[in-house]
Each structure stands twice: as structure tokens, then as C-alpha cells.
Amino acid sequence: MRERILLAALLAAAIALPWIAEALGTPATTGVATRIAIYAIAAASLNLILGYGGLVSFGHAAYFGLGGYTVGILWEHFRLGEPFLGVIPGTAEFLVTFPAAILVGGVAAAAIGALSLRTAGVQFIMITLAFAQMVFFLFVSLAVYGGDDGLMIRRPNALFGLNLRDPATMYWLSLAVLVLWLWQMGCIVRSRFGRVLEGVRQSERRMAAIGVPTYAYKLAAFTISGMACAAAGALWANYARFVSPDMMHWTKSGELMIMVILGGIGTLLGPVLGAAALVGLEYTLSGITEHWQFILGPILIVIVLFARKGLMSAFGRWGPGNG
């Protein structure tokens, strides 16, 4: 019961954030919070396969980037008036681009997963990395979509007449998607599917021995994870109004992994904490000194060495979705 009250309070505070920020005279906080929310979605999606499934994917940023570029490419074709590949018309409707991004992310994850899941251990890590790098270099080489310089999206997508340029509106949209996704993840984790995944993480051999088609389950989880990550990418495209291959670079994958690990693997709210910590740290530290990474590095090391379960462990046993 206490958990629920605390959660509700947290949610209320999160919703009220734009007003609080305005009142405190720091309107920029809403933007930072939006960034945290979007990264939290991506980190949470990674957490599904990493934390619960034990699959260390070092190439998750690829889906984040693909989601973003879906929005970007559809916008570009909308702006130019020519259909993509001659068939698909451009659009700036959120209700079209968002599902499209999710679809693209899912297809990509399914394809990459199908191949990568044939390996395991460090080879799995490296092959997911390889595929992500391939996607990265593919987009770097496409001059028509800006290449290395990225693609500007001059106007955010249209959604029921909402103005997504307004920081508060964008924030609430991202928050809504985050809450939705976390709730969805909670359902997955508690379901039979989630239990099997957990079992696979603990011992794949055992699961195979009792007759579970582990490959299929892993692939399904991988695909779902990719879809959610792409959704985050689509939101990012609307927030930043700019997509670039940076979004798919392996360092971005690394950042997502850090958020997951920092926050607490295998916990529902862990990724949110991790995203908040990393983005928040970057924001505050960079205000103090331009060499903020000098401080962040040791902080990460200390957390790894001494706070074994990430930040969530600092909050004790309570917290939904533990394990």
C-alpha cells in the first residue's frame, strides 16, 4: 500500500513539474525532464532484455536512431512533396509517424535479433554492436538525409492540434508514453512470458531442458524491446527537431547501458532513476565546470564498486517490479 501511495505521489509530482519549474523560475527544467523521460523509455526497453532477459545488447541505439530517422525521413518527404521510394507519401502526423517508427524498430530488431541470437556471451555483445555500427555508417553515408550533419525537422509532428514546440506539452506527451511503457513492461514481466524470460536468464540450459523454445522467446523479447526503443527515438525527433547519426553511435548504446546499470538492473523504475541520474548529473555538472566528465567517471566507478545493485538498491526493498 505504501508503495502505491509513494508511486502516486511521484506521478503527481512528475505531472506538476512544468508548473513547479515555472514557479521556481527555471523553465529549462522542463526540457531536461523531457530528455530524461525519453531516455528513460529507451533505457527501460533495454532493461527488458538486459535486466530481465540477460541479453547484453550493445547496439540498442540503432533502434533509437531508426525511430528518430523514421520521423525525420517522413517529414523530409512531406516537406519535399515526393513519396519515399516512390510509394510511401511523407507525413507530419504524429499518429502516423509514431506507429511507423515502432514498426520500423520492430522489423529491424527482429532481423538483427534473428541473426545475433545465434551467438551468446561476448560474441552476442559484439555482433549487436556490429549491426548497430552498420546502421550508423549507413545513415552517415546517406547524403540525401543529411549524412553526418543530420536532418532538421523544422516543425514537430501534428497531434490533435497540440503544439509540440511548447516544452510543457512535449514533456507531458513523453511522460505519458513513459508511464504507458512502464505499465506495459510491468504487465510483461509479471506474465508467463516474463517468467520464461527470467528463467532463460537464470539458466538457458534448464529452460531448454524442460522444453521451452528459448530462441523464440528471446527473439520476441528482443523485438518488443526494439519497438519501444524506436518509440523513444520518435519522441526525441519531435523534441529536438533534429536527428543525426549520433543517435545510433555505439557510445549512445553505452550511455543507455549505463543508465540501466546505474539505476538498477531488473527493476522497473531503475532505468528512470538511471536516466535521471545521468542526464541530471551531466546538466548540473556541466554548469559547474566544462570538465564535468572528470567527475562523472569516478562517480560511476564508485557506484559500480560499492553500490552493487545500482541506485535502486539505495532505495531499499520497496519499489515495484523487483526481480
Binding site: L138, G297, L305
Partner: protein
Amino acid sequence: MALLLEQLLNGVQLGVTLFLLAAGLTLVFGIMGVINLAHGSLYMIGAFAAAWVAAQTGSVLLALASGLAAAAAIGMAIEYVMLRRLYARDHLDQVLATFGLILFFNQGITILFGRQPLFVNLPEFLSGAVEILPGVPYPVYRLVIIAAGLLVALGLYVLIQRTRIGMLVRAGATHREMVRALGVDIRLLYTLVFGLGALLAGFAGVMAGPVYSVNVGMGEQILILTFVVVVIGSVGSIRGAMFGALLVGIVDTLLRAYVPGLLRGVMDASQADMLGAGLASMGVYLLMALVLLLKPRGLFPAHA
């Protein structure tokens, strides 16, 4: 024909640099079971130390010595302070902690040296070119790198295959637990291995400085390729590292040299070059994916 030869040599030179890094990385990973993302940082430290000393003293030997010393010293420090607590932990924790190290070192170097890249002036006898074949001049320094790399490879081979320490290393790479069970002081072995890896990385940095530019972030750029090499060549295998490095070096260089040209036939120059550069970079990863799908343990797996 001359062009092809030059490009091949360039590929070998890149491969040799990658080998120096991959050898250390594969040993650390194979024997100690530790993923060390900060390996690239040791490469960077070696490069910076050598570049700075070279600028201050103008002596090649001093620069070389200081680069090696700096990398080895800092490597040992990392191992003693941090890494040994991570041996028992899983890969994720190691990734996170060593990522933190990368941030720390990158900013540390920025604080010490500023953000500008350092440029190393080669002494007279190392700059310039020699004609390896009539009409095909090739930079002397790159030949030196190739020679140095091959020498180190030879040295490593002798060390690993013909000495007692090397035997322990091979054994550890094959089955770590067994080696410990047989009473070998594993801590000492680990420290030695890590030190050796750091030394090799530092050496690669010292050599690479004059060719590429010595800048913050140079470690990460080459680290990713190094990982590719390690995976292709199999974790823990020096032979695999050599072969993988040469393969990756040559493939990458040749793709970058020829793919844009091939594309110009079908599209305009700027687009061709951009797409070509992208595809060429993709090439190595495609190669790795292929290898992993066909031989998931790499080309020279340590286990049976």
C-alpha cells in the same frame, strides 16, 4: 598496380597497429575475463606522453621510453586500484566501471593538454619516403611501424610459445579455474598480463602518434575496431589477434580506397564518396558478423 601495392601496405600498417592493441586486449579478456573499455585510453596516454616528451626534448628514445612508461604505470595503477575488484563481477559492471575510466582519462588529458591535438615532428631520418619498388615511394615511418609491429609479434610469439610464463598464459586462456586450482599465483599472473597489455597499447599509441593526430578520443576511435579484431580472431588467442588484425586492416583500407571509385560510375562524386565511405566502414562489421555467424567462437578458438 603501384597504387594497389601502396594500399596493401597501408592496410598492413593499420593491421599492425590494431594487432598491438588487440594482443593486449585479447590477453586481458581471455585470461582475466575482464572487458576493459579503457584499453583505448592507455593507447591515448602512450601517444600523449610520447608526443609531449618529444616536443620538450626532441629525443626519439626518451619519447618512446616515456610513452611506454606512462602507459605501463597507469595500467598498473588501474589494475591495482580498481580492476582487481572487478574480476569476480560480471561483464556489465566491468563495462560500466571502465567506461567511467574513459570519461575520467579523456577529461584528464583535456585538463592537462587542452583540447588541441598535439602534433609530433618526426626526426629527419624517419620522415620522407623510400622506393620499395621503382616508382613506388612509400613513407619511411610507416615501414618502421610495420617492422616494429612484426618484431613485437615475433617477440610475443616467442614469449607465449617458448617460455614458462607464456605457458601459464596459454593455460590461463584455456581454462582459468584449472590454473588456479593447480596453485599458480593467479594475482601475479593477472598483474603481469595486464601490464603487458598496457605496454603494448602504449607502444601502439607512441607509434601511431606521428601518423594520426594525437587527440582526445583517439582511443575510442580505434577501440571499436580492436574489439572487432579480438572477436574475429577469438578471445585469448594471440595468433588470432595477428590474423584478425591484418585481415581487418587490409579489408578496411582497401574498401575505403576502392569502393567510392566503384560507386562513381553510378552517381555523382560527392554522393559516391559519402556513400562509399559509409559502405566501406560498414564493411568490417559485415565481415565480423559473417565470421560470427559461421564460426561463433572466432577463427582461432582457444578451447577445443
